[in-house]
């Protein structure tokens, strides 16, 4: 089935409702849906939970803090161990205005994968004996302890790929994959920004990183330069 091609990032995210859980692909500058994040800023939706690898100084996700659109962030990088400048998110976090749930990267991706793959959870050793295990179930199996991590899904996923075809197939570029392919499986509404929209068949079957059935909306955008500062 053909994917819906939107004319602008703004129109693609316009009907995202307040309070949505939004999965945001990307890893620092790579594969980050910058245009969709900025469109969400212009859209003004509030009470959002953002699930993303990083929300640091210079991250566009931090822009959503300008008008306090984020109620909660689930991330792996959030507050730096040192440095004097701080992000908007950091300031709001310290003021108790936004909630933070930090997750180990390998656990965050497995939770999202479980959410997309119909699994009820996975057992990991990561986080055992640390703050990350607080409030979570530990299973002892054959004399070994394992931490049970539960699935995580979004109402919406915002992705960035290099090219998308009219069936929604996505091709990623270099290290632009990161969280995008798994997040594509784990949200009810999947919106991808791509640098180029091509006809079905132009992306070789071996190079499809996200099959089109996961993608609902596509929008062509010129990439926004990103410079990260942690």
């Amino acid at each position: 089935m053909d994917v819906l091609v939107f004319e602008s990032a703004d129109s693609a995210v316009a009907d995202v409702v307040d309070g949505s859980v939004v999965l945001v692909g990307g890893f620092v500058s790579a594969g980050t849906p910058s245009n969709l994040i900025l469109a969400l800023k212009r859209g003004g939706q509030t009470g959002l939970t953002a699930v993303a690898n990083n929300i640091g100084l210079g991250d566009l996700l931090d822009e959503l803090c300008e008008e306090r659109q984020l109620a909660k962030v689930i991330a792996t990088f959030a507050i730096r161990a040192s440095g004097t400048r701080s992000s908007r998110f950091e300031a709001q976090y310290r003021a108790g205005e936004v909630e933070l749930e930090l997750a180990p990267q390998g656990t965050l991706i497995e939770r999202l994968r479980a959410g997309g793959a119909g699994l009820g959870g996975v057992l990991t050793k990561t986080g055992l004996g640390t703050m990350m295990a607080e409030g979570k179930q530990v299973l002892e199996l054959d004399g070994e302890d394992w931490l049970l991590e539960r699935p995580l899904r979004g109402d919406v996923a915002l992705l960035k790929a290099w090219r998308g075809d009219r069936q929604g197939n996505l091709q990623y570029r270099l290290a632009g994959l990161n969280f995008n392919p798994v997040m594509a499986t784990a949200a009810d509404l999947v919106i991808a920004e791509v640098e180029e929209i091509v006809e079905a068949g132009e992306i070789p079957p071996e190079l499809v990183g996200t099959p089109g059935i996961y993608v609902h909306r596509l929008v062509q955008c010129d990439p926004v330069p990103v410079r990260w500062d942690g």
Binding site: A30, I79, A103, P104, T130, L174, A175, N178, G209
Partner: protein
């Protein structure tokens, strides 16, 4: 926390200044020497990133970045490509035979024991090899990235850090009071003052930095430290 007495109780003058040891670059150089030929290595953000610059092609080291690259050679001088970065956001160059993959596959590699060695920064390491490196209580929140998975999954975990804090407090302690990254995970600690092995649940001095005595290392170490007869000076 003030520097407590080490195993040998040598710290008498608490207002002493720590001796000047290796620069960050030399710590990275010494850490690079710790890598076995042909191994697969992940470098943490910060000081460990510098290690890539001290590895020679003949060492046949393959660097993995948790954002989905196997086989980068180091920080790139080329034009910045936003899709070709390491986990610290720095641009990298690829080696022939490199590959890209998503975060799920990247942590299959890391958690599954397929990374030979990880070099991470540290805030504190305990006598039994517990690591704390993601959360500074005074700042809160934290940034964990792939550190917990690397600490659990890498076959050998090397911590590269300053021996003491800016305030002169030991980072090597009996018990970490910072929140842990993982328990009993550290194999080797490389600092500006020493190379210390975590072995059989205790710390054993292997090498000292040039001009640093084993006693000085013990003095600035906040945990029991075994000093064998054959402690060597680092060759850099």
């Amino acid at each position: 926390m003030r520097p407590g007495p080490g195993a040998l109780g040598r710290l008498n003058i608490v207002t002493a200044q720590p001796p000047t040891g290796l620069s960050r670059e030399l710590i990275a150089l010494r850490a690079a020497r710790e890598l076995e030929r042909g191994s697969v290595v992940n470098l943490g953000i910060g000081l460990p990133t510098l290690v890539a610059g001290f590895v020679k092609p003949a060492d046949d080291i393959l660097f993995q970045a948790e954002n989905g690259i196997l086989g980068y050679s180091g920080i790139s001088d080329s034009e910045f490509d936003s899709d070709l970065i390491n986990a610290g956001g720095q641009p990298v160059d690829l080696v022939p035979g490199a590959s890209f993959f998503d975060t799920a596959d990247s942590f299959t590699m890391i958690r599954g024991g397929h990374i030979d060695a990880a070099i991470l920064g540290g805030l504190q390491v305990s006598a039994r090899g517990d690591l704390a490196n993601w959360f500074v209580p005074a700042r809160g929140g934290g940034s964990v990235g792939g550190a917990m998975d690397l600490a659990v999954g890498a076959r050998k975990l090397i911590i590269a850090m300053a021996h003491v804090t800016r305030d002169g407090e030991p980072r090597i302690v009996e018990e970490c009071d910072y929140p842990l990254t993982a328990e009993r995970c550290v194999d080797v600690i490389i600092t500006d003052l020493a190379v210390i092995d975590v072995r059989d649940g205790g710390l054993s001095l292997r090498e000292t930095a040039p001009g640093i005595s084993p006693e000085e290392v013990a003095e600035w170490t906040g945990a029991g430290l075994l000093i064998p007869d054959d402690v060597a000076e680092m060759s850099l």
